[in-house]
Each structure stands twice: as structure tokens, then as C-alpha cells.
Amino acid sequence: MRFSSLKELAVVCEKEGKSICDIMLEDQAAESGRSKEQEWEKMKAYYGIMKDAAAKGIVSEKTSRSGLTGGDAKRVHEYTRNPDASLEPFTGLAMAYALAVSEVNASMGRIVATPTAGSCGVIPGVFVSSQERFGWDDDHMVKGLFSAGAIGYIIANNSFISGAEGGCQAEIGSAIGMAAGALVELKGGTPAQAVHAVGLALKNTLGLICDPVGGLVEIPCIVRNGFGAVNALAAADMALAGVRSAIPTDEVIQVMLEVGSAMPDTHRETAMGGLAQTPTGKEIIRQLAKDRKKPAVSKKEDTK
């Protein structure tokens, strides 16, 4: 790759007069040894999976494997279409699709990790709703996925993208930054504006802990995907309006690294703290453990 920071990426884009997507696609083909067309098709197939999950989840009442969650995407979709909703309908749709994909994930449906399965709703929420709203074709959306991937590649290699390492800021935070930056480019913004959108978005999730109840990718992961999609739209609008990230985005990514490294283990996906250890969180864990004692297939437990 010709870039290891967002600053370097923006410089390469400007020097060559190309978009973030163009640079990512060229460098990806060089790294993998496959053709640009092959890599494009692979990404396009991934976008197909995202659209299918969004469409499936938004009408589904299926509960997750644990039985803890399910049906919220449908509820939100129905409510945000009525005139009393505070969100404008397409913003509500972004939120509903994000919840939908996350619910499909929790019920062992097919999704694309963006960048992880825990944060798999944000990008499809933003992308699929924006595609419907602005009438973009699939190829335009695939461009956006390469841009989002470039942004995530830089965040992942300079900080982290897993909750176990850096808390929820690393998963949902990264996904929001990736979606916001990509949306700016899809709407005709410059690479520099896209980079500002990433910084603006990341600043809003710094410090977010990873505290899933029972260690499952459900509570609070699913609703955080819904909020994440709305935040990504907001960050893209801010950047397109000309708002700049006063602290350069690469420096914000370093703060994510600093904050995540200082986070106690209890707040990094271990379910030993935060929402997981509230009285209700603990009760849910107890209940799940009870259900688990009667598995469908014979299992031997705890031999050392």
C-alpha cells in the first residue's frame, strides 16, 4: 500500500487526481496479485450480501439464537415512516437497516464483517438507505466500500478494530468513521473532506467501552449499530458543510489507541464489567447459563 496514514492517503489522492476508492483498488490489486476486475467483483458480491441482510432483517421477527433480541429493526422501520417520528424517514431507514443487519447477524444469518461482525450494521445501514434515497447503482456503492475499506485499513493498522483490544470505540467507532468518510466521497466530496468526516465521527465515540451482556454480540451491540448509522450520516453532512476536524484525524486515531490501551480488561469484551455486570445483565447471564445446561447435542463439560 502506498499509504499508512489518512494524511498520506489524501496526499496520494491529490497528487494523482484520484479518489480514495481508485487508490485503494489499485493498491489492493497490487497487493493481492489479482486483477482490479476480480477484486471489484469480490467487493460487489459482498455488497450483495449486505443488501440481502438489510432486506431480510427489516421485515423479520426472528429472535437471536439466545432469544435475547430480534424484531427491533421492523419496529423502528414502521415507526420512523410515520409523520410523528423525529427522524426524517431516510435517516430512520438508515437506522432500521443497521439494526436489521445486526439482527440477522445475531440470528446466525449471512453478513459481511465491516470491520467486524459486531459492527456489521453501520455500513449497510448508511449505504443501502443512501442508495435508495439518491438512486445510485451498485457499482457506485462498491466504490464506497473500497473507500470505507481504505479508511478502516488505516485505523486498523494504527489503532484497532476489535472490542477485545480497544473497546467498542474500535468496532462501532471505526465503522462509523468508515461509513462517514465513504459517504462524503459518494456524494462528491473531496478526499480531504472525507478524512475530516472520519475525524469528526471518531471523536464522538472515543472512550466507548465493549460490555456485551453474556459476551454475546447483542446487548448493547445491536442498538449501537443503529445509532452508529445515524451518526455517520451526521458526520458526513458536517464535513460536506465545510466543518473540519480541528484535531487531524490521524491524531484522533492515536487517541483511540491511547484510550483503548488504557481501558481495563473488564471493559474490553470480557462481559466482566459495564452493562454486562448490571443487576439485570447478571440475571440475563444466569438465565442463559441455565438454558445452556440442557444442550441439544451431548457435550462433555470441563475436563482439564
Binding site: 500500500m1 499508512s4 485503494m24 489492493q28 497487493e31 493481492s32 496479485g33 469480490k42 467487493m43 458480491a45 459482498y46 450480501i49 439464537r65 439466545s66 447477524n105 445475531a106 440470528s107 446466525m108 444469518g109 449471512r110 453478513i111 459481511v112 464483517a113 465491516t114 470491520p115 467486524t116 461482525a117 459486531g118 456489521c120 455500513i123 470505507a148 475499506g149 481504505a150 478502516g152 485499513y153 486498523a156 493498522n157 478494530i161 476489535s162 477485545a164 483490544e165 468508515m178 453474556g214 459476551g215 454475546l216 454480540v217 447483542e218 469484551e269 470480557t270 462481559a271 445452556r292 444442550p295 441439544a296 447435542v297 457435550k299 462433555k300 463439560e301 470441563d302 475436563t303 482439564k304
Partner: protein
């Protein structure tokens, strides 16, 4: 760079709910299947750390089994993999261990089929990326991201030179290598990750090299086997 390309960020396409507890587990199962080189009849899986605590809720048991059946990470049969395994005559057993592991998401797989057997330990390091850390008692590390050759051999001078010469003659570039041995001049193993696919005839030639005991070739990107 820990993350090498755009598809380690966007991807994998997978069955939920967790890239580390589900998708990574499928890939570890596929590596084990690749080591056995035939349909497993009996499988024993031991979960450590976070996997031991949450494997059931994340469907990690279903995911590893799917990998043992040769399914890919996005195969919609993953939720039914235990039933499919049973129908195809594969016995799968799960255990948890409280022995501390090197990584929070570690599992061990032991497979057998007739007189064949293999064992491996691996970690799921996030985003569906894996790291194998042990094969048949050897401390060998590899990621499964590249075509991978695992060679068991006797610890003798020239074995690696002969192997790398074969790869060189086929213009296959080596990206990474790791070697371990149980004793000086004893049983040893080498893992080689390459940039390009390894031709079948090369594998045949490598098997005939002196001091080579066995060769396994794993290519997870070559798609799932049926």
C-alpha cells in the same frame, strides 16, 4: 502491518454472530480438515478462554463443525452443521478447559479417520482472522491467508534446501517460513506460506524428497470443499 489488505477490513462474508467466535472458528476447522486430508470420522474440540465461556451463545461449536465439513464462513448450512455431521457419520465432541491459553480465543482440534489422525491448536484473533500455533505437537505459526505447505520431516541437513529449491524452480515465492523440531536429528516440521498457488506435481515431487515424512497443502482461499 497487522492487516494486509482491504478484504481484511471489509469481509469476510460470514454467518454471524461473531467474526472471532464464529467465522474464525470455521477457518480453524477447515485448517484441521486440510491437515487430515480426508473426511474426519471422529473430532474432539477443546475450547479455552473466552471461547470456553461463550462458545454456545456464539455458535462456535456449529462453526468449527462446519469447518470440519469443509464449509466456507458464509455457508448458510452452518447453523445445522451438527445435524449434517451426524448424518454424514462424523462424531463431534466438545470440551472446555480452564487451563490458561496464550490468546483469549483459543481452541484445539483432534481428528481421526481410520489410521489417520491429526491435532492442531489455533487462535481467532479478530475480524475473522486466525493464527494456527500448533500442528501435531510442533510449535508452528501460520495464518491460513496464503497457500500453505506443512512438511513433517527428519531433522537433517539439506531438507529445507531441497524443499525451497523445488519452490524456486516452480517460480513460487515464499512469504513466510517457520520451523520446529522435537529433537536434534529427530522429528521436525516446517511451514511455508507462499504468494502463489503450489502446483500439484510439485507436491508429488516434495513427497519423494529424502527425509520427508508427510506433506499437507492448505489453501483456504481456494474456496470450500464439498
Amino acid at each position: 502491518m497487522r492487516f494486509k489488505d482491504v478484504f481484511s477490513i471489509i469481509g469476510p462474508g460470514m454467518i454471524g454472530p461473531s467474526s472471532s467466535h464464529t467465522a474464525g472458528a470455521v477457518l480453524l476447522g477447515r485448517v484441521a480438515r486440510g491437515l487430515l486430508e480426508t473426511e474426519p470420522i471422529e473430532a474432539e474440540i477443546i475450547f479455552y478462554g473466552s471461547l470456553a465461556a461463550t462458545y454456545s451463545g456464539h455458535g462456535t461449536d456449529l462453526a468449527v463443525t462446519a469447518g470440519l465439513l469443509g464449509f466456507d464462513t458464509d455457508d448458510e448450512r452452518i447453523p445445522e452443521s451438527l445435524e449434517i455431521a451426524e448424518l454424514s457419520g462424523m462424531t463431534v465432541g466438545f470440551q472446555t478447559s480452564s487451563v490458561p491459553a496464550v490468546h483469549p480465543n483459543t481452541l484445539q482440534i483432534k481428528l481421526s479417520s481410520g489410521n489417520r489422525g491429526c491435532q492442531m491448536t489455533g487462535c481467532s484473533i479478530g475480524g475473522g482472522n486466525i493464527e494456527v500455533i500448533e500442528v501435531n505437537g510442533f510449535d508452528l505459526k501460520f495464518t491460513g491467508n496464503y497457500p500453505t505447505l506443512i512438511v513433517e520431516h527428519t531433522d537433517q541437513p539439506g531438507v529445507l534446501a531441497n524443499l525451497t529449491r523445488l519452490l524456486s524452480e516452480a517460480s513460487v515465492n515464499i512469504g513466510y517460513m517457520d520451523v520446529d523440531r522435537k529433537a536434534r536429528q529427530g522429528h521436525a516440521a516446517t511451514v511455508i506460506e507462499t504468494d502463489g498457488l503450489i502446483p500439484k506435481e510439485l507436491l508429488g515431487k516434495a513427497k519423494l524428497l529424502s527425509h520427508v515424512r508427510s506433506i499437507h497443502y492448505i489453501d483456504l482461499n481456494g474456496g470450500a470443499s464439498e
